[in-house]
Amino acid sequence: MIRSFTQRLGQRNPNCVFEQLDPRCKLLIVLIVTIAIVFSNSLMSSGLFIAVGIVALFSRLTKALLFTSSFWVLLWCIFMLLFHIVMRQAISAPRAMFTAMVFKGTALIMTGLWFAVTTKLRDFTSALEAWRIPKIIILPLTIAVRFIPTLFHESLVIRDSMKLRRIAHRKRDLLKQPHLIGHSYLALITIRSLKMADELAAVAETRGLARPGKSKIFKPAQFKRNDYLSLSMLLVLIIVLIIASYFV
């Protein structure tokens, strides 16, 4: 799943309206959806879940949507079972908990994933620069966003090599030998990360990123009709859901 997701990052659909929105518009959408979800009730979170699901389908994130939803459903089941078995009592409102966990959780994560997957790093940077966020934050943020998939990949490689060498390779080792996992995994991934950072710095230096002076942005961030339209649609949806919640 993670492998296919990291591969998906490199293949963006140029014809999808949702993928072509201005990064600032996308950021605003993420922010609005996040705030709406935090303060939402069941109806509103269900509505936002459906809306986010439609966007995810259009942006070819079906697998990620299914995975995230299944993950939350699985978590919900675990919670229900644990409460039932360990605490010897059932949760009073399982449906409310389902809505809170599955709908809210999926909508939140999918919005973030949609942003991360459909936004080119260069566009993201120029959008943040347009908002006058300091370079000292933009640069590490850009690097961190870029390297999250790479480090996921690295983690998988380390896991594979640990399996190959039969080091803490069984699931029960998580409980039996957590120190060994930490020892082998954390040390390796940290060394890899530091080496990557060194290489990256050399590349950045070569590309002239460290030079003083303002860099020229060839594709400046710009709000277009589709951006205004998407934001308006989202706001209308939230207003409709708030009104509907009031009546239901």
Binding site: I137, V157, A202
Partner: protein, 665 residues
């Protein structure tokens, strides 16, 4: 020349032992430059143009202006690590090297049938490392055959392989000769067995003699050996014994290098702690250098380059073509080379290199398009390393006036007696040869004076003396490249903070997934402890690498923005920012983030703030209803603090391990 110097093992003002301190008062140069990397001042250029377009144009369309071309293949594995070496290499096995050879083949295949390769023949192929002879015999032979086929190397081409003595046996040597290897460069370093052991070399003197004899019998045409001087505690007499052995063996080529105590090597550590005898001082080194030249020339050798002496059988083509402004196609990870005006370097790490060549070569890690003047200076340094300077034959174009550019320095060195004028060119004198890197570096620095404010990919700061730099083949990031709004952080600091931030997120995500799926997350405090431990251990290392005020705030700000984007945890995001800033301020107040205890306290503050804020929602909504939640939240905060302390302590241990691995420079 009048020389007055102190010993190279002296006490500095603060009482620390400073074995590298060498002053050469009264002479032209204060210290001796010992590596060709010291002469790379011409590489101090701002990135210009669009190098990818240039190299693609050269390779795809064959638009190379030079007819002389060589190739370099780098094999970054060694069976044993020498104590003095900090080149781009790591311990490896023949199997690992064989695996890596597949990547080399892939890169070679990318060049196959390109217009550049078809345009003309390659004069030389050099396999260096690491230890290319670590490759299993069949793999090595297969790789050479493919390289010969693709690069069009014929009978007259020179194919060199670097090797240790202990890697070679009769079978391998015969296979190498059969595959077309014409020259081997043996890392002898010294014939004195005890010195060899000190340097991390395995074989003894008898084995060296036997291997060289076997190599000759196997049909290797040219045998060259590297010999070191300025070895710890080495006298002039001891070095003379090594030279006598080399002459006795009738080697075709002899490379003489002064030992450099590279930063981070076991040798340097041994010298610092006085576990290894001090290096000979500059007067002994100069005596060794001059004596070597006298002995070898008397024995029928000719000085070919600053470090290499040859007999008629050793053409030393690779070095000569490179120094003669020829092309050098870099192949393999961390291989560097030139294509016309371009200076190129492949990714230094094997995995990055693998990514770079998977699905066709996508690029080089670094590519710099040299301006005309810098290219001229590269040519000048090349000639000076070959012992002469000819203003007619150096690379130039119509816009340049070499005589005018070089005049001041030529006059200076004629005056000092390092250069002499013949009818056609200037030539290095005996003294000039010994100081050839200093002279070449001085000429190369003509470029520096004009580009002092620009960034550089391959720059070597002028104050650097060989041995004080971190890595001879590593890219230099420059001392300080503070762009607008960088607030004292270099691009390297930013890279470390960014990548480590990504690591914190990835590790936390993986732990969160595992803990939620297994239900461990429901055990009060466990999740907070582990997450806090995992994030703090990484933050500890990141902040040890970038010990600057504000680094924690930057990391937490970035972390919080990504957390807010990906998980929508606004409260946690705010908690992260506030925690980071508070941690930073506290650390600064109690002694600075570079110290271990303030750093751990800062991490505790950061983590507890983050947990408090992320629990704020539950705190506000549920504290009045269920008192148990109250205690659980407090328990979580304590668990976070404990996790942060444990993470910090584990970080100390991990930092030591990483430092040992040579990453934590």
């Amino acid at each position: 020349m009048k020389k007055a110097m102190n010993t190279n093992s002296s006490l500095t003002n603060n009482g620390t032992h400073h074995y590298q301190e060498i002053k050469y008062s009264g002479a032209v140069f204060e210290s001796r430059l010992r590596s060709h990397m010291d002469t790379y001042g011409w590489s101090q250029v701002s990135p210009t143009g669009y190098p990818k377009k240039v190299w693609l144009d050269i390779i795809k369309n064959g638009k190379s202006e030079t007819n002389r071309r060589t190739a370099y293949i780098h094999v970054p594995f060694c069976g044993t690590l020498c104590t003095f070496c900090n080149f781009q290499r790591k311990p490896g096995t023949p199997a690992m090297a064989a695996d890596y050879a597949q990547l080399i083949k892939k890169e070679l295949q990318w060049y196959q049938n390109s217009a550049y390769v078809l345009q003309g023949r390659f004069e030389a192929l050099y396999m260096g490392g690491g230890t290319p002879s670590l490759l299993p015999t069949d793999t090595l032979a297969g790789l050479i055959n493919i390289a010969r086929q693709i690069l069009g190397l014929d009978e007259s081409s020179e194919i060199t392989i670097e090797s240790t003595i202990h890697d070679l046996d009769e079978e391998k040597l015969r296979a190498m000769a059969q595959a077309g290897v014409t020259r081997i460069s043996l890392g002898v370093q010294s014939f004195n067995t005890s010195i060899r052991r000190q340097l991390g070399r395995l074989s003894d003197k008898q084995t060296i003699y036997k291997t060289i004899e076997t190599a000759r019998d196997a049909g290797i045409k040219t045998i060259s050996a590297d010999i070191l001087y300025r070895l710890p505690g080495q006298s002039v007499r001891e070095f003379q014994n090594d030279l006598d052995c080399a002459v006795e063996l009738n080697l075709d080529g002899i490379s003489l290098y002064p030992l450099i105590a590279m930063t981070g090597t076991p040798l340097e550590k041994g010298l610092k702690t006085n576990k290894i005898a001090q290096l000979p001082n500059l007067s002994i080194e100069m005596e060794q250098c001059k004596m070597a030249r006298n002995i070898l020339i008397t024995s029928g050798y000719k000085q070919d380059t600053s470090t290499h002496f040859i007999k008629e059988d050793d053409r030393n083509l690779y070095a000569n073509v490179r120094l003669d402004d020829g092309d050098c196609l870099p192949i393999g990870c961390s291989a560097g080379g030139y294509l016309g005006p371009l200076v190129l370097m492949n990714a230094m790490d094997k995995q990055m290199y693998q990514v770079q060549i998977s699905g066709g070569k996508t690029g080089y890690m670094a590519s710099v398009n040299l301006p005309a003047k810098n290219r001229l200076l590269r040519s000048v340094t090349g000639q000076l390393q070959r012992g002469f300077l000819n203003t007619k034959t150096i690379w130039q174009n119509d816009s340049l006036e070499p005589e005018k550019i070089l005049k001041e320095r030529i006059d200076k060195y004629l005056d000092k007696g390092f250069l002499t004028k013949t009818t056609e060119q200037y030539e290095l004198t005996d003294d000039g040869w010994c100081w050839s890197y200093n002279i070449a570096a001085d000429f190369a620095n003509i470029a520096k004076s004009e580009n002092s404010n620009s960034s550089s990919a391959f720059a070597m700061p002028s104050s650097n003396i060989s041995g004080n730099k971190t890595h001879p083949h590593a890219l230099k990031y420059g001392k300080k490249k503070n762009g607008k709004g960088m607030r004292g952080f270099t691009i390297k600091d930013i890279s470390v903070l960014g990548v480590m931030c990504a690591l914190v997120i990835v590790v936390q995500f993986i732990f969160a997934m595992i803990f939620h799926i297994t239900g461990i997350a429901l055990i009060p405090g466990v999740m907070q402890f582990v997450m806090s431990f995992a994030s703090c251990i990484i933050l500890f290392i990141a902040l040890k690498k970038v010990p600057k005020a504000g680094a924690l705030s930057i990391m937490t700000a970035v972390y919080s923005m990504i957390t807010m984007l990906l998980s929508g945890s606004i409260l946690m995001g705010f908690g992260l920012i506030i925690g980071g800033v508070m941690g930073d301020i506290t650390a600064k107040t109690i002694g600075g983030i570079q110290k271990t205890i303030p750093l751990i306290i800062a991490l505790v503050i950061y983590r507890t703030s983050q947990t408090t804020f992320s629990k704020l929602y539950a705190f506000i909504t549920e504290m009045t209803q269920v008192q148990l939640v109250w205690y659980l939240i407090l328990f979580s905060i304590f668990a976070s603090a404990a996790g942060a302390v444990a993470g910090g302590l584990a970080g100390i241990k991990l930092t030591k391990k990483i430092t040992k691995a040579g990453v934590m420079a």
